[in-house]
Symmetry: C4
Subunit: 276 residues, 4 copies
Amino acid sequence: MRLSPEPDTRAPWRLRVHEVIFEAETPAGKRFDVALMIAIMASVGVVMLDSVDTVQAQYAKALFAAEWIFTILFTIEYVLRLLTVKRPGAYAGSFFGVVDLLSIVPTYLSLFFPGAQYLLVIRLLRVLRVFRVLKLANYTTEGQTIMRALRASRRKITVFMFTVLTLVTILGSLMYLIEGAENGFTSIPKSVYWSIVTLTTVGYGDIAPQTNFGQLMASVIMILGYAIIAVPTGIVTVELSNAQREEALTTRVCAGCGLEGHAHDALYCRRCGGGL
Amino acid sequence: MRLSPEPDTRAPWRLRVHEVIFEAETPAGKRFDVALMIAIMASVGVVMLDSVDTVQAQYAKALFAAEWIFTILFTIEYVLRLLTVKRPGAYAGSFFGVVDLLSIVPTYLSLFFPGAQYLLVIRLLRVLRVFRVLKLANYTTEGQTIMRALRASRRKITVFMFTVLTLVTILGSLMYLIEGAENGFTSIPKSVYWSIVTLTTVGYGDIAPQTNFGQLMASVIMILGYAIIAVPTGIVTVELSNAQREEALTTRVCAGCGLEGHAHDALYCRRCGGGL
Amino acid sequence: MRLSPEPDTRAPWRLRVHEVIFEAETPAGKRFDVALMIAIMASVGVVMLDSVDTVQAQYAKALFAAEWIFTILFTIEYVLRLLTVKRPGAYAGSFFGVVDLLSIVPTYLSLFFPGAQYLLVIRLLRVLRVFRVLKLANYTTEGQTIMRALRASRRKITVFMFTVLTLVTILGSLMYLIEGAENGFTSIPKSVYWSIVTLTTVGYGDIAPQTNFGQLMASVIMILGYAIIAVPTGIVTVELSNAQREEALTTRVCAGCGLEGHAHDALYCRRCGGGL
Amino acid sequence: MRLSPEPDTRAPWRLRVHEVIFEAETPAGKRFDVALMIAIMASVGVVMLDSVDTVQAQYAKALFAAEWIFTILFTIEYVLRLLTVKRPGAYAGSFFGVVDLLSIVPTYLSLFFPGAQYLLVIRLLRVLRVFRVLKLANYTTEGQTIMRALRASRRKITVFMFTVLTLVTILGSLMYLIEGAENGFTSIPKSVYWSIVTLTTVGYGDIAPQTNFGQLMASVIMILGYAIIAVPTGIVTVELSNAQREEALTTRVCAGCGLEGHAHDALYCRRCGGGL
């Protein structure tokens, strides 16, 4: 929580509860976070088991009960978060605020729309808090390096994706004309789907070219995909390399000769030997 | 349009129309470009829907009408472009000139060859103008960096592709001898197709080796493909890294001789020896 | 074996046997290691052949005998290793000690649990000693460079894997809702399995989306997988590059303070400022 | 041909023929090479068509004749090469000497072993001479850069391949125990084949895990393959980068300050400004 100049007018119990469920530094806060983590994992496990026919047939009632117990617990937690936080609106609108809400809504929805409870797996996103709980400062840094690299390559990836989408649409339409509905390419959208399956080298094989010319075209697309897959890899590698170099190089400049880019542990300039 | 010393002899209406359909800077030009973009997207959507049986069965007439309306609009636009541009020949021969023409021809062709209208998806290429319309100067730069990297690696990729094609032909023929027609490898061209499917790790599974020796050979090809896929990735990564470094380097220019692209720690121009 | 100050109290025959089975430098030790290597390879071959029905039907007795002969030989070897090594406990708990034990246990287990003998392939891990036997010092270095790079990227890979696992669980659940049991997505765990098959671009095709919306979702996942596969590649490439640079850099040592790893163009030690 | 101090004792006709079939610089030599190229391509095309049932049914005689004509021509060429070259033994043992021989043998073998003629596709390797014919010096350089990078990473790739092979054997055996013959994993060798298909992300789907535990194991293998595929890519990228940098950097050293690594077009040292 950021320090704020305005005096804190929250009642003592609100401050106490806030400390437990929002902070990870205090013993009580840490214990709460670990318990929450286990509850989230367990509840996602329940949802997954609930979808397995053989398990469902035998333990329908237990799973149903467990789902509701977890949901009620998470609902209480969500309400407490809203009540004890200083700016409930800011919390409700934040990433974890939205995820916390989405984690309980599906169970209530399932009363009206059977099956909605499977959306509960979105609770897994709450586990991303694990990084904070376990004080994995280093892991957070690593995650940030990856994020920085991906953000830096955002524009290149966009241009690349746009080109790939144009390509698969045109190639898919060509294959629709070449192979036709009798070979499984029943429409352009389906052919575009096949193009994506092929270009990304997934290759399910549910649709595959049958004619000689279609197989020739497919070969061209695959060879093309070979070269194309190199592009995002290259982009991310270069950006990751940049992100890491920036980290490694302190921005210190030698007062004597002005050389930049000194190693982290450098005490003297490597060119002129002057102290840094 | 480049400035030209010869006086512009086009009639005022041609200048006005030219401004609207060629320029993206003026309000009218921008509005035209956005409308065009939407029309292109919509017309491609119509073509794709037209190929879906269930949609076609119900809305055949509406789709047919929409296709012709879009084509007539694009035809008028193409004629106007030809009439108002200064050098119609240069435009007609340029990349976008050819794409603009190819975007209207298929509908007329479909009168004689049913099905030709599906080629209309080539209109999508016109959307590449989106980069100009949205003044995405940065995106264009990113696209150019990728293009530069791909151009620089052109020769390496060619050598690589040539080697891969020789390899898949020989491997495909071997598999034809090992597996034979009874296991789906009905001819050498089909076996080469299988080789490409395997080496690129697409793996449809429509043809798969059945004999023990064939599966051993296939394993070798797959392990080989593992090492081979690393090559284009490596090539593009290195070139992308180079392309980006060159970009980063061109910020300093020698006052003496105007040379660009000095190393980060350069104090003197590497060509004329003058201080930077 | 490390030199130790305490006097070696092992009987002469133990020292002699130890030299043969643990050392690779002496002629006897080398001959033993090569024989061991061949025995391991042969015994793994026997286990693999034993699992092939047609071979098993014809040579059941010979294979059974060979398996027991190899196991008894390896048991004798293991006992000798335990008897002759200085600290039997340290050996038994070391990586190769555990592997040596696991290499003989399955045959004995197969007396009670038929099929357990197939676990004998774990013997293959013993072949990793090949690097020592063939004195492939260079290969060991290369292996270490790769290991160092993988270790350095451990944390980034962990963060990445965690994100991917969260992603495939959520995507799998969505596909379960979209496609449902009638299209092969019979449960959330099975749908998550399909997500992994798709995102890693393996694409068996045993489960494939049938509905239009499902195929659209699958396309998004595949395109996503395209960008995602670039991340581990980028991470490992950058770390490998770092690991190799570090290797290259350690050739110069500061005479003053002994610091290694100076930059290529360094004239002065970055720690003590002394000339290099 | 290398210059040799010993006087050339070959008859004039031998020198003349040698010039035509071995040299690519003279007009006659170039014309011969281009004709040879076309003949090779055409003959490979004939072999491929010969394997297609429908074509074979109709043009059996013409294809048979064409194959023999090409083979006789190539036989004459091979004999002439042997007769006119200075050291016939050295030529016969060289890479292209062996390929030239292998290019004619299969047709003769097909008299005794029907089907052997399909091995003729090995003729394609002769096309690698195309680089020499078209004087594609630059392409040769690019090819050499790739070869150098692959050679430099040879040891790392070997270590990597060895580890992967050990891994797929152990994983394949585990899957054999988990899934068993009733789910398509009929033997350990077949399970190892499946492991390779999965780890390389080819994923035919001819064999796919059916049990829950098998699918869990398969998921682990796929996620593992994700990280593993990054390794050869990283290795080749780093080596390619090195190979290219070595090319780019002349080994010139500044006489004034000793700085290495000057750009190709550098006339003055970038650090001290002294002439190079």
